[in-house]
Subunit: 428 residues, 2 copies
């Protein structure tokens, strides 16, 4: 399919600013041409009017637990441990493959509507998540979450995780990639970590894990092991493979240097970290040390939603609060963290993440017509500080439209919502 | 006019939780009946289907500078003083009455669309703001911002402020009320404050001001006066009249006690305070000391937008970060801060701010149908942690619909946006 987006404002790469008007041609799965001022003619299967719209690279949700849309509003305003132990974990024991499939579809619809084209997910029943992703058309890095504090659990958990990688990595025309996910340093023993690293190397997949989410968790780990979780992982050799480390709220200077030295990515999850009172990750400091920082929502159970437009704004606001500096994480940098830095975190930064000829045609059209975006002095400022998910009017992945004119093209949204409401009842 | 809202979920008052289904009757300007389970019949001029919707009290934006929608995206990611001195103040010198009128209309449309029914505004050319408010149908507390560091400027500034109060207080069938606004302790001398307090007492209007927005401003004030701004105001007798104090980020324990002792209201402005790196106001602590805390956006020049749905979520998130406690400002309290506590701040808490028989019929219908609000375990959690401005489908003030089915009923939005885009050009 050949698609022309005519006359939109375009951000090819956030650092390069906004092209006020351009024609963008998509051929098959890739961007074929970006012509400033416009003027591309002829031979397209579909022409989309870009007037009053801004085309940006697709947003990348680099850390979530998709099917936890089931737990949206299920147990809010509680302390983390009570939230987990009294509410979430008991409910997760009741989860079925069917639940995960339908609530993944629900989350995928929500993500498309808020401009997300790619994401990294860690959960259970990952075959169901993968089937939902294949159907919905997004790009994803999927992994089974290994929880194995003792050696007894290690073998079966690793086997399950490996089985998923072997079964799904590269499927859905390459849109689905797989990772290995020991859940966290405090939930997996050293032998699990060593084996996971060796396996990741063998399978050529990254490791996606949680790191330093709460102060209590880090303090307890240091008391027990005499070193920080990041240093412990480094000594186990885990950073020899690409690592996606979610949260990274409580890192020492040395921890940040470890991430930088091994080209690991930190995934900032502002909503979730605020809602559970974990704190604010040192995003500006990480970036200045050369760490790749991406952005994620975490699960809707902790964050409330899967809205990357919102996370992008929160990232810009939180960075300023954390640094006490209104110049921290300016709008273009916040958009970089939400786009190409996410692609880089997922290990695919050379294939997609910016709007450039030859790259995969993932992109989002944002309407600039709302009163809340008027008068429009700076589209990139308005995008980060004022736009909403509801301004997203077009979404493409691999050149395929997933949303156009407010309509989801790959999902029967009403059917998904109805099924999810029905399935949710038994959890109340 | 008699209006029936049939079968909506209803929050009469956030502390009372959600009535899953009720019929709500509006007669003229007031709520006439709320019947749980429904069953009201007959004789209505208009029946609105409440199925799948949540009726809440109108949101109250207790501190803004409405016409600064002109400066949305105009100068972001800058230090406060450079933002003000190099960008905003020079531009404000070019402002005309026409600018203020049109950008006020723009802001009013944005506020209606995001569920705001009442607000407190402080700016220049207030007659233009009032004319726009009268047209748009919202409820407002308006005041001319007095800036008079030296006695020479005091008389003309106070006269202008008094003229506005005498001309507009009580107009638009009582929807417009006026206040006096010495801008801040650091921009008005003691004689201005004393005269303003005496005048406020005589005119029976509140004082709306800025207090302790930045640490630098407070430190400088203390160095110069040997006391905090709040204590200085108390000693001048200012708290003898009702005070609406915007920001309140940097208060001492004693300052908070002063606010509590005099029943003053603090207005938390999370977006603006974060974006300018001012810090987070101690909302949970203020509430626990008995201070009435309301919520505001501040101007769109600093906050990016005028979206109280977003401020409500940020208030809940920021309170948890500030207190290090995920139980701080739970969803019902965040909604209280955004609704009846705002009405109380504006000095009208007995007339409106909750959905109760006999009170003014200000309210907002929020659609619960979006994928991002599914499966719907808790409508109040979903409202605070996941809903967007775009979920607002109905807005009423004094029983008059201002928005229904996504359409603004009192403003020609397209004409307003076109005019604003034209006017904004000369500021670039």
């Amino acid at each position: 399919m050949r698609i022309l987006i005519r006359g939109a404002a375009v951000i090819r790469r956030p650092e390069e600013g906004v092209i006020p008007k351009a024609d963008v041609a998509i051929e098959g799965r890739r961007y074929a041409a970006v012509v400033e001022g416009g003027g591309i003619e002829g031979g397209f299967d579909r022409v989309i009017d870009g007037e009053g719209k801004l085309l940006i690279p697709g947003l990348v949700n680099a850390h979530t637990h998709l099917a936890m849309t089931l737990f949206r509003g299920f147990a809010d305003d509680l302390p983390l441990m009570s939230w987990l132990e009294d509410r979430i974990w008991p409910a997760e024991k009741e989860l079925t493959a069917q639940d995960v499939y339908w609530f993944s579809l629900l989350g995928l619809g929500e993500m498309i509507r808020s401009g997300t084209t790619a994401f990294a997910d860690m959960y259970f029943f990952m075959e169901e998540v993968a089937a939902a992703v294949e159907e919905a058309g997004l790009r994803a890095l999927l992994s089974y979450g290994i929880i194995a504090p003792t050696p007894a659990q290690a073998e079966s958990e690793l086997k399950r995780a490996e089985g998923f990688v072997r079964g799904w990595d590269g499927r859905a025309e390459g849109r689905i990639r797989a990772a290995l996910s020991p859940h966290a340093p405090y939930t997996c023993g050293p032998e699990v970590w060593k084996e996971a690293a060796a396996l990741a190397k063998e399978l050529r997949v990254p490791i996606h894990t949680h790191l330093a989410e709460t102060k209590e968790e880090v303090d307890r780990f240091v008391a027990e092991h005499g070193k920080t979780p990041a240093l412990w992982l480094e000594e186990l050799g885990v950073f020899a493979v690409p690592v996606i480390a979610a949260h990274c709220v409580h890192l020492s200077e040395k921890d940040m240097e470890i991430l930088a030295a091994h080209s690991a990515s930190a995934v900032h999850c502002p909503s979730s970290n605020a809602k559970l009172a974990c704190g604010i990750a040192p995003v500006a400091e990480l970036l200045s040390l050369g760490v790749n920082v991406a952005l994620g929502t975490d699960g809707a159970g902790s964050a409330g939603d899967l809205d990357m437009m919102e996370e992008m704004r929160l990232a810009a606001l939180f960075a300023k609060l954390k640094a006490g500096d209104p110049e921290a994480l300016p709008a273009p940098q916040a958009l970089a963290v939400a786009t190409w830095r996410g692609a880089q975190a997922l290990g695919q930064g050379k294939e997609w993440g910016t709007i450039e000829e030859g790259r995969r045609a993932d992109g989002v059209l944002v309407s600039l017509k709302g009163a809340h975006l008027c008068p429009g002095h700076s589209p990139i400022s308005d995008l980060v500080y004022a736009a909403h998910a509801s301004d997203v009017v077009g979404v493409f992945v691999d050149g395929r439209p997933l949303l156009l004119d407010g309509e989801l093209l790959t999902l029967d949204e009403e059917a998904v919502k109805a099924k999810c409401r029905e399935l949710a009842r038994r959890f109340r």
